[in-house]
């Protein structure tokens, strides 16, 4: 690929709207493109893309490649990959940004391998060195115990960005940009795996990823029943319930509750942990919370190094009294 230039975000839409991950990627991409003095484009995949294309421009894109095909209406990894590969080869960007969502976890590495280049995985921050036009990425390693700064040696330089670390820009509907249709040829037989059944296990009510307040429980709860108490508390606060991996592995709650490196990334205003020790792999999913509150009986527990407010005590005493007081305060 000669003459690579510009930043290409690989985005998507949900329910006819530009996804929040795509908005976050446009923030990171806008800065990188400005530092390079080059263009910021976004490739959107789907069946109908008018509304998300316009939104992408108002969130910072200079150009939108609308990759439409009936086969792209539903996510299928092999077909999405084929479309992304075709777009990257045609556009020849210098930098490609993709979201480390559940889909991105499988798309980004496979795309990089197909293009014969490296991937900076699960990045918290990216920057470009204007002189050499190289991408530098900060990524947590060892469960977040250390941060590695990595450089991609091949072009396109690809980075997968962790969700919820970049804030979307203020949308500006007067921004001008160009929408280009990018037709792809896809053959359904390229889809080598097939989804035959979908099972939903997430709790009803406020979604964990979107909740303003999250109450999470850990191994110290000792069983599944106490999660009902956490649910009562979360309901009073208009929030959702999460869990540590230890609670999930014990079978007390489904894996969709898990917060952390290999679970969900959440950024609530208030994150209340109950009987969670604060392992780095857990904190990897919640360190973006504005305020962390810890209830734990061990004053030496790591969670008190991460929390803003803490109570050292047995949850069996602390949680009922806390819940009662919250009830009185929020209902008066």
């Amino acid at each position: 690929m000669a003459d690579e230039s510009g930043v290409l975000v690989l985005g998507d839409s949900t329910g006819g709207e530009l996804s929040s991950m795509s908005r976050e990627l446009l923030t990171a991409g806008r800065k990188a493109a400005d530092d390079l003095g080059e263009e910021l484009a976004i490739g959107l995949l789907g069946a109908t893309l008018d509304q998300p294309s316009q939104q992408a421009i108002s969130y910072g894109a200079d150009k939108v490649y609308a990759v439409t095909h009936p086969q792209l209406a539903q996510y299928q990894v092999d077909l999405y990959l084929a479309a992304m590969e075709a777009l990257c080869r045609d556009v020849s960007p210098r930098i490609v940004l993709i979201g480390r969502t559940n889909e991105g976890r499988e798309l980004a590495p496979r795309l990089a391998f197909r293009l014969g280049v490296g991937l900076a995985q699960d990045c918290l921050e990216i920057s470009v060195d204007a002189g050499s036009k190289t991408l530098l990425a900060n990524r947590p390693v060892y469960g977040g115990n250390a941060i590695a700064v990595v450089r991609c040696n091949y072009t396109p330089q690809i980075a997968a960005i962790r969700p919820k670390v970049y804030e979307p820009l203020e949308p500006d509907s007067s921004r001008q940009g160009q929408v280009v249709s990018f037709p792809v040829e896809l053959d359904p037989s390229q889809a080598r795996s097939q989804v035959v059944n979908v099972v939903e296990e997430a709790a009803e009510g406020v979604k964990l990823e979107d909740a303003r307040v999250v109450v999470s429980g850990g191994r110290g709860l000792g069983g599944p029943e106490p999660f009902k108490d956490l649910e009562t508390l979360a309901n009073l606060l208009g929030g959702a319930v999460g869990a540590s991996r230890a609670a999930v592995d014990s079978g007390w709650v489904p894996s969709s509750y898990q917060v952390g490196l290999t679970g969900k990334t959440i950024t609530p205003e208030v994150y209340i942990t109950v009987a969670i020790s604060g392992a780095s792999q857990h904190m990897a999913g919640c360190s973006g919370a504005k305020v962390i509150v810890a209830i734990n009986k061990d004053a030496e527990s790591n969670i008190f190094k991460e929390a803003r407010y803490g109570v050292v005590g047995d949850w069996e005493q602390v949680v009922p009294a806390f819940t009662e007081a919250v009830r009185e305060l929020t209902q008066s």
Partner: protein, 266 residues
């Protein structure tokens, strides 16, 4: 015909070690392995071994564990054998030092898989708990042109297909692909079985196959690292925690609610 299964497993520093034991050498851009804590088989890779054994529980199957690295603790890497795997292949060479990237690692593993004649199913962990890259398996699938299903919590083979319960944001989905295929698994698969005494004895007698880079027919142009590590540092945390006191634990709980209200957080 028995099903041939490969499990890709990595030796890592024990992620459960106390945080205080975690040290880096910033100049060498490396993590210093704690001297008194032995390495382990990456946790998700033990889940991968368990997934392979579950298949072997119900049908004839052979399980080959493959690993690459510069040096191995043989007793650690033999654990999959003592759990019930059949063969162990170690790709060991000083040239495979830790700073090589996922691209390089995947090329080596793919070359070894080719040399072994290929497998019906390759099972990997979702990510290695040291560099947390979650890339190698997807790369191996791309290099070998295999269909690939990631984040499995249950893996079955029926009618020439692999059927996987794949974890999603809100639950799971059942995904099928024709063999040969590659699958990655997560801890939701469940606790890996413990080695039996018989398994441990059998494993002591087994010798791993050890190959160096010269034994592998890997494309040299593909053995250029795609990623360079510029810097490694430990992030500073400067959070000050305000401990809320009370007459007793229950009162501290009440005081906490008042405090959060005062701060307009609830």
């Amino acid at each position: 015909m028995p099903v041939s299964i490969a499990v890709l497993a990595k030796q890592v520093i024990d992620p459960e070690m106390p945080m205080a034991a975690f040290r880096i050498d910033a100049d060498a851009k490396a993590v210093v392995p704690p001297s008194n804590i032995p390495p382990v088989v990456n946790g998700f890779d033990e889940n991968a071994v368990e997934a392979a054994l579950q298949i072997k529980d119900s049908q004839e199957a052979s399980i080959t564990v493959i690993s690459t690295g510069t040096s191995f603790a043989l007793d650690v890497m033999k654990k999959p054998l003592s759990m019930g795997a059949d063969e162990l292949v170690l790709l060991q060479d000083d040239a495979f030092e830790n700073s090589i990237d996922s691209f390089f690692t995947a090329q080596l593993l793919a070359a070894a898989i080719r040399k072994l004649g290929g497998f019906d199913l390759i099972i990997c962990g979702r990510q290695a708990s040291d560099w947390d890259n979650a890339q190698v398996p997807l790369g191996v699938a791309e290099i070998l042109g295999l269909s690939c299903i990631s984040l499995g919590k249950k893996v079955e083979i029926k009618d020439g297909k692999v059927s996987v319960e794949r974890i999603t944001n809100d639950g799971y989905e059942v995904v099928e692909a024709p063999l040969p295929a590659l699958v990655t698994v997560s801890n939701e698969l469940g606790q890996p079985r413990y080695p039996t005494l018989r398994g441990i004895m059998a494993a002591t007698r087994k010798q791993p196959t050890i190959w160096s880079s010269a034994d592998l027919d890997a494309d040299a142009s593909q053995l250029e690292p795609r990623i360079t590590l510029q810097e490694l540092f430990v992030p500073v945390r400067d959070q000050q925690c305000e401990i809320i006191e009370g007459d007793d634990a229950a009162d501290a709980g009440r005081q906490l609610a008042l405090k959060l209200r005062e701060a307009k957080l609830i």
